[in-house]
Amino acid sequence: MKPFDYVRPATVAEAVAAAALPGAVFLAAGTNLLDLMKGGVSRPDRLVDVTHLDGLDQIERLPDGSVRIGALVSNADLAHDADFARSYPAVAEALLSGASAQLRNAATVGGNLLQRTRCAYFYDTASRCNKREAGSGCDARDGENRSHAVLGWSENCIATHPSDFGVPLIALDAVVEIEGRGGRREIALDELHRLPGDAPERESALEPGDLIVAVRLPPAARAFASHARYLKVRERTSYAFAIVSAAAALRIENGKIAEARLALGGVAAKPWRARAAEDVLRNVAPTADAFQEAAWRALEGAKPSGDNAFKIELARRIVVRALLLAAAGTPARIPALPASPFAATSGAIHA
């Protein structure tokens, strides 16, 4: 392997300083980064291991009713935190539908949000990829691209963001707390990932050295707890990324939707918030017709980037189903097969 420096800063400030140097990257659990390094896709000069930093592994309930999740909380710990799962069931369900149990035990909140695309041409260093090597071209464009983006893509990059976790988070207006060279700042999760445009190599709003220290869900996010679901269609029951997924959350008052939240996964270079669909669901009864209308709105502007027109139709149907499931109410327990269309019937004991 290419030699690299490994540093283990003692404080957040040291971490930021260490990672601000060219060629430096943060190492969290490494479940994505180390794979990329082994494949020669990432060849950093310096790993800044943040896993030993104090205080980033807490789930805190703040007095105003929001929750603050430290960037180093593991995907599994967060999903299995009973209070968290009760308050934000779609988030827990999304987490549990991701990767495998072993990976979830290791993977962190920050790492999950900043994991790289699974585009095969990005991973294959012999292929041209604008994201891996700016300006080199995009071999996915005319290649094997049935799983690529249908929203927000550009001629320069048609990759999707693979995170499940980010999908309900973005629907619930999550906020990302960042420590950078200029101190602490926060941005909406919706602003963390960038669409490719003409610079697909720039994936996020983070500057060199910027460390995600926490993700916050605002007080209003709790209000959806009784009608929130995540639904993920994938080619096998576990250990597979979404073909398309959706997070749906409803606040239902007197039989009407007071407020709806909807986001899609696996369709764009970021978790895709479907605000236009949310708008048509305001103050209407939670009916299949209304959900159909929302689904059309959600996919407005979608267009195939290759052999993937089916994803648009699939996404519409997933939106309808996710909304129906949300309207039916959050189940008392997360299903044994989280986020699966087969959750209700399968005899499987876990995914």
Binding site: T237, E313, G347
Partner: protein, 753 residues
């Protein structure tokens, strides 16, 4: 290698005969405690690590390698390239026998497929060798690669599979089709698939002068030994190969491939022991795979649903430099009693590593299409798929008219259907739903696999202390040879399993033949059985010719071996123990050899096949098109079952592979570059545990006096056949949508649901 200490768990207490007992794996405790040494677990002192650099182009030439950069990297010891390598004794392009396949041993700079080895970096650490390989930064002269089933001019290969004619027929297919009341004409595609054994190909090599010691997983110790001997120009007895355990082979470790040869060359080059382990993605190229196929089936039936003709054509691919043709259409030879059958193959050459045997080669690819087409035909005739299959039940082998040596397929159909509840199936598709509203479909497929026999030899001995020895260079690929063959040995020696020292897995033992073709238990078992009988006969000679023995005068035929004693058949109260016989005779041990081989006369007279019937239930989300298998029942008749527990596991594994074939597995090849884009277990999907439904395996009693002395047919591969088609047919029954491209993908269902 440390002595193997196989366990003696209480389950090994003997209850009568050993054969037929569901003993747990004797190597199980070693494996679950991590003490079973697989090849890559060996670390001889002074060992270096070798890492292969592979080509990223599929066709062209390597024009430069930055060897200097690699060598400058700390820890790198040497870089083996076409310009710097030990000479082989023969050109690896020469096919010295039909089981030799061409390999890439750095003998040319030409690139013929993606992931072809182009150099080997040798270093003090794995990391240094890995980085050294990256630093080679090869440059190429690239030619447009040949990719896919339409890559070029097609041709009819001289043979398909192992020596099968590319075309066979019986009866007049066109006349049969013309006279048919109902016809179907359907074209199916199956993708390239890779074996993906858990254990990657690995070798640890140590040269000591001209002696060579090798740790390497192999399904064919003697074939590998002979190949190494000819490539390196050394005598057979100078080579010692240890292969006590394989972490799966599935055909990819049967014949010596290029990578282990490179390991041996590297050790020779640097004069130190070498370990070379393939990375997962490097297994997608130089070590074989299942070729893609496009198959057209034309079937006719009369008004009563009797087949009038079956025409099965398969297009496949081979590499540009060698010949292996997936004999997919041959799956239509044995199952259904059509008066006219024609099977034919053609092929194109593509820039791929040579395709090879992969679990049920030809049978698996041919079975999923044949069983789909039979299902389509049944529907066209308005018949239940089981009734249709029974109507066309082959009482004799359709192509040859030979009787079957045994065939309990009818019982498989009956017992499988009863267990599954098949009678409640709706004839029409898309009629069944579960409580949650999911579409439910039931499908079935017939399983079949030939009962083969190869050549094997075994050595048996009985020792002064009354214990036995059985030696055979057999292979445990995880299927349980350490256990099942030891059971046969124990019966052959008239001893309990734990009184038999069973030796296997090394090349200094008698040749067990290749562990392939589902024939290993039968072949090695027959040799063991005959060696056991031979050594007991020697012992009996000692006793019955000795006046002092209570067996004196009983004659060979008059004694039986049981529980470490010989006893008179006519008077079971008279007998004596093995140790008494040997002690009195003053010999330390008696030994004898035995062989297992096919019986040409029986093969001439009978068609020999295992059979089965697989029933599958799937559920399909009617809006989203997501498919999951929810239950499977397989009933198999495969002659004598040596160890029911291991057989059940083999059949489970086969059935899971069948569902994997129908729903999951596919190597995705970039059509421009010829590179495989999902060469890892994250993206090359095989089922995870949560995909595997409750499985039910029934082994149907079958007594076969003709296949071999023990009546064993083998169960290694049959489980895939039938199963893949059953799942595909269940998807049709659930949805009414017939998908003819495998694996069945969501987009094919989505738009038609």
């Amino acid at each position: 290698m440390p002595e193997l200490n196989l366990t003696s768990a209480p389950a090994h207490l003997r209850h009568g005969s050993n054969i037929g007992q569901p003993l747990t794996r004797r190597d199980g405790v070693l494996k679950v405690t991590g003490r079973a040494t697989y090849a890559a677990d060996n670390h001889p002192p002074g060992m270096l690590f070798a890492v292969i650099a592979v080509s990223s182009i599929a066709r062209g030439r390597v024009t430069s390698l930055d060897v200097a950069a690699a060598k400058r990297h700390p820890g790198v010891v040497d870089v083996m390239t076409p310009d710097h390598k030990p000479q082989l004794a023969i050109d690896p392009e020469i096919k010295t026998n039909p089981f030799v396949f061409r390999m890439d041993a750095l003998h040319s700079k030409e690139v013929r497929y993606a992931n072809q080895p182009i150099a080997v970096v040798i270093a003090e650490t794995l990391e240094a060798a890995t980085e050294g390989a990256a630093l080679l930064a090869p440059r190429y002269e690239t030619l447009p690669p040949l990719v896919g089933l339409d890559a070029g001019e097609s041709f009819v290969p001289p043979v398909v599979g192992v020596g099968n004619p590319a075309e066979s027929h019986h009866g007049d297919v066109e006349a049969g089709l013309a006279s048919a009341e109902k016809r179907i004409d359907a074209t199916y595609e199956t993708p390239p698939q890779y074996h993906n054994a858990m254990e990657p190909h690995a070798i640890v090599v140590q040269w000591d002068g001209d002696r060579l010691s090798v740790d390497m997983p192999t399904q064919g110790l003697m074939l590998s030994l002979a190949r190494i001997a000819e490539l390196f120009g050394i005598a057979h007895d100078k080579i010692h190969i240890r292969s006590p355990f394989l972490g799966g082979g599935f055909g990819s470790k049967g014949l010596m491939g290029g990578p282990p040869v490179l390991g041996i060359m590297a050790a020779k080059l640097v004069g130190r022991p070498i370990k070379l382990v393939l990375r997962r993605e490097q297994m997608y190229g130089p070590v074989g795979h299942r070729a893609p196929t496009r198959q057209r089936l034309r079937i006719g039936a009369d008004a009563e649903g009797r087949l009038t003709a079956l025409d099965h054509h398969a297009r496949t691919v081979s590499s540009t430099f060698d010949d292996f043709y997936e004999p997919a259409a041959d799956a239509s030879h044995t199952l259904y009693a059509a008066p006219a059958i024609r099977t034919s193959h053609d092929a194109v050459r593509v820039n791929t590593g040579t395709p090879l045997f992969m679990r049920a080669p030809g049978e698996a690819t041919g079975s999923i299409t044949l069983e789909s087409a039979i299902d389509e035909m049944a529907w066209a005739c308005g018949m239940d798929p089981l009734a249709f299959r029974l109507k066309n039940y082959a009482e004799v082998e359709p192509m040859t008219g030979r009787p079957f040596s045994s065939k309990a397929l009818r019982a498989c159909y009956e017992q499988g259907a009863a267990r599954f509840g098949w009678a409640k199936r709706s004839l029409r598709p898309r009629q069944m739903r579960d409580d949650a509203g999911l579409l439910v479909g039931w499908g079935m497929g017939t399983a079949t696999f030939p009962a083969l026999m190869f050549q094997a030899e075994a050595r048996a001995a009985i020792r002064r202390d009354g214990s036995g020895v059985m030696e055979i260079g057999a292979h445990d690929m995880g299927q349980g040879a350490w256990t099942a063959l030891a059971q046969i040995a124990a019966d052959g020696l008239g001893l309990d399993v734990d009184r038999v020292e069973f030796k296997a897995g090394t090349s200094d033992l008698p040749d067990a033949g290749i562990a392939g073709g589902s024939a290993h238990t039968a072949t090695a078992g027959a040799a063991i059985h005959s060696a056991g009988a031979a050594v007991i006969a020697r012992l009996a000679d000692l006793a019955t010719n000795d006046e002092r023995s209570p067996l004196f005068g009983a004659g060979n035929a008059g004694v039986i071996a049981r529980d470490g004693r010989l006893i008179r058949r006519d008077d079971e109260s008279r007998g004596e123990s093995y140790s008494e016989i040997l002690a009195r005779a003053g010999v330390a041990e008696v030994e004898a050899r035995g062989t297992g081989a096919p019986n040409p006369a029986a093969m001439e007279e009978y068609a020999m096949h295992a059979h089965g019937a697989v029933f599958a239930e799937v559920k399909v989300d009617p809006d989203l098109g997501q498919v999951r298998v929810t239950r499977m029942v397989g009933a198999f008749a495969a002659g004598r079952i040596v160890n029911p527990r291991m057989v059940q596991s083999q059949l489970f594994g086969g059935m899971i592979w069948g569902m994997s074939f129908a729903l999951h597995e596919e190597a995705i090849t970039d059509r421009r570059s010829g590179r495989i884009m999902n060469a890892n277990l994250g993206e090359y999907h095989i089922p995870v545990n949560a995909d595997v439904p409750p499985l039910d395996v029934i082994t149907v009693e079958e007594h076969d006096p003709h296949v071999n002395a023990l009546g064993i047919k083998g169960v290694g591969e049959i489980g895939i056949t039938g199963s893949a088609g059953a799942v595909a047919n269940a998807v049709w029954h659930a949805t009414g949508v017939r998908v003819r491209r495998f694996p069945i993908q969501i987009e094919e269902l989505l738009t038609q649901l």
